[in-house]
Symmetry: C2
Subunit: 777 residues, 2 copies
């Protein structure tokens, strides 16, 4: 083995000819330590005769080459650990690696995403199109074909990376392939026939979006929803069972009353009790029988108590519990997966000579692939932060903290307390005064009072307007006064704290942007533009500052921000369901509902649009429900949102049913159940997140308000010089220059060492780690 | 000290002249061991010159007398511990004890309850009375006065027991007294004026019910509701804050649209957004603006997403969390309270000679007061179950289990496996066969199939009826067939298992009663009575048997039964709120709503009742909402239930508002918020209970299906003889006779000892004990 620069040789070689020899003396860190046997390294699978191996790293010489490959594979392992990719999709040879690298970068991801979005957005222009965006059949079919071909290309890259065997075994990819084939055939059929047929399969287009790398969270949500389904369905059956019993009973009890249209047949009885479950038709469904016999209300009270107040809550309890359990198990398995990934990476980075840990040189090599944007200083700091022992090597135990440490942002610790410490005496005193003022409680509470007065002012002002001429172009003087106060506060705070410190707090940032926008609004108003709504929106927003006052609100808002990504992904999941139902709805119900469409149904009033004359006035009777239609995808989305909110949804259902068959009800009922599932899970999620947070706060009541995770590390001048030497040897010019600048700076201030602070905000995973500490061990 | 029968003297004497001497040598079990200093015993407070002491136990001689008093006080302590009564209300002297005993028995409790109920029920007959129950003013005012005088009597008894100082300090009692005074004055005013004035204070009558001994659970619920309020109100303010912001915004955005009646003034804007929060007016409130500009839906979607889907869930989370926390803390403090009570009781039962434990004699004396119905055998078994050591004394540590053990039901363990073991050979074989058949899986599943077929049959049959002549007097043959099958099943099971074992299972009991009722229904039908509904109700109930099939359902139903008492108390709490609001509603809104009352309001349609002719047909347009009124207390309850369900509640609100002032809306909004609190707490409670249960099941997955708590104890013949001796000495004839019978039975079977099984069902407290095991220690 030709060792060129160092005396170190990897314990395991990747894609290198000498591999078979090197992997023999595994010794103390043998394979048996690694639980996942799938994730071998290239040396096992790779046959020596793969000329493609050099493609991606041909510029390297032979001995460092092997290290470069090891770095890369270790980085891939760590990425897989982070993204929760299973190791059986790990690239198995050089050809696969090339495809893997091609398919794993943001350019490729963006292509994936944009193709999926293009396919989804096509439904804006297809057959029941949004009027403004209507495209010819030829145009949109061609666009579709183009997008599908791009998907084919993506899939072929994936096949190249996974190999045919794994490709077949990977369920999601297989489903995607099948959908692709169907879509392809249909698109061609449309092109040939030059007319669109009933294409419900368009609803499956969401699969392309779900499969995107960026939609990992959506996939997780969907998985969690499906995992929560079995217990959910059990309770749903209970619900339906009681519904059937009550439907039979209601039919027997109320059908003799001929003025009661709700229970005249068993089907009506069932449908109306289903609607009653959503309370949508509540007092109405009871009224005809109640008018006849007041005691009939008992039937409805018992039904609602059992179904709505008991079983529906039970449903929530079951989902909440399952959800909680899944979250816990998921967290544990994720932790285990990350550890396995770290083990794999570790094995690739230790040398034959020193198998007890990773030296900085190899760690730096790993980071070059894992986080190419990291600068040399940060790499060293990360290494130091990981290294708990005094040896120059990072042991496996230390390396387990990799994911926690690698996210830290490093900053040199300032010796100066305030930004104005270096200014001349007089200026210093002035700024110091402002600083004290700004930090004082009195100032804070004065500002709160101003905001509160402002709030009341706005309320009173709006109340006095009462449909008057509020479109006057005069800027109200109160607006200018309050804005001035806010401006002065902003100035004081910026000067007192220094702009950097001022903007580092989220709340200050919020203050700043609201004031800025309000000022912009004022400018626009002064120049006679149309920004009226803009200002109206912004003025009450100032009131949000009041939330700083109370700890609970700060907690709530913090949790809200923490939840936001997850909430967004849940929202997206809901939108995907919406999309499927919107497509199906459009295919079947487009153009069915229009003014005066449903005069024969029981909900005729809501769809009536009459223009009749009473005396000498023209009275327009307008039932607006014809607007809740499936005529294009945007309308469908609004209609589906209304169905989600549930109130009066039966009017939409009955309207459509009266124009089609009574099987249409199935669509609406299934939609209700699906949204119920998703909504229950959203509720369970919010519940879980907040209860978790509150428990956490209660457990750590005595500890300080946490500002995320902070780590302190000191680097001495000698260390920096040492690293410079290292980089010089591997002729990395930029890194060397960076570090030399650092040395110069240290010389300038006459310091022998610099203190760095590593900082990152606390994630849910950190919190969980702390909460489940005992259970995990 | 004159010791008559035993050599033992109580360590602490109660109400005895020799007390001051006896309490001196406290030694190893001094007062410092007892955390609650309030609960001293009588000897401390009692002055020797109280002749009333003898009143309740005059028949006892002097030395046993002191023991009897000790037993009684120990029993009182234990009762206080069980009922979570604070020790500062502990009777302090003999006079107080007499009053305490008078006020603490079921007769007194029943009087309390019935007076409270009478007062509450009076509102059925007062001013806006239920037509059938209307009483003259003179009659109901006299009744009221009578009930109030009874309450005065109750309170005076309580004062006698508590003493004036404690009486004043006891908040609940003070509130009750104040309300009583007000009610008294008002009742007299009504009697004098012979006409009822606006008596909103009648709403306070519920306090008499809440204060009843039997309504302890309701009091606990109310306390828990009030404890959950502060965080609830915080989030509510957040909710209202966003509502105000959106109301201002909505007013600016939509009031230029003159066809939009929902946002034309700021007040309307606010009210409609409040209603929108309940989704009651959902698509309607959006429609006028949506018709003008489709993008205005964004306003509503954002509003609903923030308010309904986020903050409302947050509210649930906060309540759930607070509730959970309170439950945990309550459980702990209750446990502590019970322990203190046990310590107090223990101190009264040990003797000066043997201060290390309680002997059976004294334990028996305690039980005579604590559980007078317990027979001698059970007392001894309880003693044995408590006694973990081999000494004849129960130590304090053992005595801590008192509450868990005293609830056990003891039964001699049978040696016979089946009831037919003693029958002759042939009969035995036949019954054994039936037994095997009945216990076989095949038989079980056959029955499930029969039930399922029955269910489908009923469904199909009802579906075929379709408004036909289902009032025919012929009994359908299917009914007879299925009933026969169920009858045969019942017979087989009863004979196979023996009637006692058969009925000991809740499910069998259920089967039995359903079948029995169905049979009774058939009989009634045969004799041409009117039990049709009766049968209709019962037939689908058979389907409930199917729930046995799945473990989850069994769990759900078990939990439901466990929850039932708590649910009932929560329901009662809700009813108390209903009552208050019903009274206020009746005082202000009675008679306000009638057909065609609200033709000027926006909800006129719902109240319209027209009888007009179209062509040659008479069309009755019936808006039934006038039925949702406050004309009497029953109607008010139904109306309030409709308001609780929330759907279309604004129609009721607007109807009433149009007839009164717009301040009436306040009533409805406050009611909504109050029910929201109570409902959220009910939801939180159900969630908590089920999640707890499911967690418990998960934790104890491997353990057997639990059949409650079972304890096994053996009693030998010598022991029984020993106890008989003891009873003979204290000349307790009935106990001696009982035990002698037992000895005779043991002689008959030639046994030297009998094995007894103590059994009770597991309560939530047991479960909690097991779940919080670590935390409690």
């Amino acid at each position: 083995m030709a060792v060129s620069m160092d005396d170190d040789v990897p314990l395991i070689l990747t894609l290198d000819d000498s591999a078979s020899g090197a992997s023999a003396p595994l010794g103390d860190l043998g394979r048996e330590e690694l639980p996942n046997e799938n994730g071998g390294s290239y040396d096992v699978i790779n046959d020596a005769s793969s000329p493609a191996a050099g493609d991606c790293c041909a510029q390297q010489s032979s001995a460092p080459h092997s290290w470069e490959m090891n770095y890369q594979e270790a980085a891939i392992y760590l990425q897989e650990g982070e993204n929760n990719d299973k190791f059986f999709t790990h690239p198995k040879n050089a050809k696969a690696l090339a495809a893997y690298l091609f398919a794993h970068n943001h350019l490729f991801y963006l292509m994936e995403l944009s193709t999926a979005l293009l396919l989804l957005l096509l439904s804006l222009c297809e057959a029941p199109a949004v009027p403004m965006l209507r495209l010819g059949i030829f145009v949109h079919a061609t666009l579709e074909l183009f997008a599908l071909i791009v998907v084919v290309f993506e899939l072929s890259m994936k096949m190249r990376w996974l190999g045919f065997q794994t490709f077949i075994r990977h369920k999601r990819t297989m489903v995607k392939t099948c959908v692709l084939v169907v879509q392809f055939i249909e698109a061609i059929v449309v092109l040939v026939r030059q007319t669109s047929h009933v294409r419900i399969t368009r609803a499956l287009r969401c699969i392309f979006l779900v499969d995107c790398r960026y939609c990992g969270a959506v996939r997780r949500n969907l998985r969690q929803i499906f995992q929560s389904l079995p217990p959910f369905i059990d309770i749903l059956l209970l619900l339906l069972f009681f519904m059937v019993i009550f439907a039979i009973l209601g039919f027997y009890l109320f059908s003799p009353n001929h003025s009661d249209p709700y229970f005249n047949t068993l089907e009506n009885s069932l449908v109306n009790l289903f609607v009653l479950l959503t309370t949508s038709n509540f007092p109405d469904v009871m009224m005809p029988s109640y008018a006849r016999n007041p005691w009939s209300c008992v039937f409805f009270i018992v039904y609602l108590s059992i179904e709505l107040y008991f079983i529906m809550n039970l449903l929530l309890a079951v989902v909440f519990d399952t959800f909680n359990d899944i979250e816990k198990r998921k967290f544990k398995s994720l932790l285990l997966h990350k550890r396995t990934a770290i083990q794999h990476a570790y094995r690739l980075l230790i040398t034959k000579q020193r198998p007890s840990g990773i030296s900085f040189k190899h760690f730096e090599g790993l980071l070059r692939f894992y986080k190419p944007r990291m600068c040399a200083r940060e790499r060293y700091l990360t290494f130091k932060a990981l290294n708990q022992s005094n040896t120059p090597l990072v042991s496996l135990k230390d390396f387990y903290n990799f994911y926690e440490v690698v996210g830290l942002k490093w900053k040199a610790k300032r010796n100066r307390e305030h930004w104005f410490d270096d200014l001349p005496r007089t200026a210093f005193l002035i700024f110091k005064g402002i600083n004290i003022l700004v930090n004082s409680r009195a100032f804070q509470y004065t500002m709160y009072t101003v905001v509160a007065v402002n709030g009341i002012w706005i309320l009173v002002e709006t109340f006095m307007l009462q449909g008057g001429n509020f479109f006057s172009r005069n800027v109200p003087w109160s607006y200018i006064v309050f804005l001035t106060i806010y401006g002065v506060e902003l100035l004081l705070k910026t000067t007192g704290l220094g702009p950097v410190e001022y903007l580092s707090s989220g709340w200050n940032l919020f203050d700043f942007s609201v004031t800025l926008f309000a000022f912009l609004g004022l400018m626009a108003l002064a120049f006679n533009m149309e920004p009226f709504y803009f200002i109206v929106v912004l003025r009450p927003l100032q009131l949000l500052r009041l939330f700083k006052l109370k700890k609970r609100y700060r907690n709530v808002l913090d949790t809200m921000f923490e939840l936001f990504p997850r909430m967004a992904s849940l929202g997206l999941t809901l939108l995907i369901f919406y999309y499927c139902f919107a497509i199906v709805g459009m295919e079947f119900f487009a153009g069915m509902v229009y003014p005066n469409c449903c005069n024969t149904s029981t909900v005729a009033d809501s769809y009536r649009w009459v223009n009749h004359t009473v005396g000498n006035r023209t009275v327009v009777e307008e039932g607006y429900y014809y607007l809740n239609n499936f005529d294009n995808i945007l309308n469908s989305f609004v209609t589906l949102f209304e169905l989600t909110v549930v109130n009066d949804w039966y009017i939409i259902m009955e309207g459509v049913t009266s124009q089609t068959t009574h099987w249409s009800r199935l669509y609406f009922m299934i939609f209700y159940i699906v949204t119920m599932v998703v909504m229950t899970i959203i509720v369970a999620f919010i519940l879980d997140a907040f209860v978790f947070r509150m428990n956490y706060t209660r457990k750590n009541q005595d500890s300080e308000e946490d500002n995320g995770i902070v780590l302190e590390k000191e680097i001495s001048k000698e260390e920096v010089v040492g690293i410079i030497e290292l980089y010089k040897r591997s002729s990395a010019a930029t890194e060397t220059a960076q570090l030399q600048k650092m040395v110069l700076q240290m010389d300038k201030y006459g310091q022998m060492s610099t203190l760095f602070l590593g900082h990152r905000s606390r994630t849910k995973s950190d919190l969980r780690m702390k909460m489940y500490e005992e259970e995990i061990q």
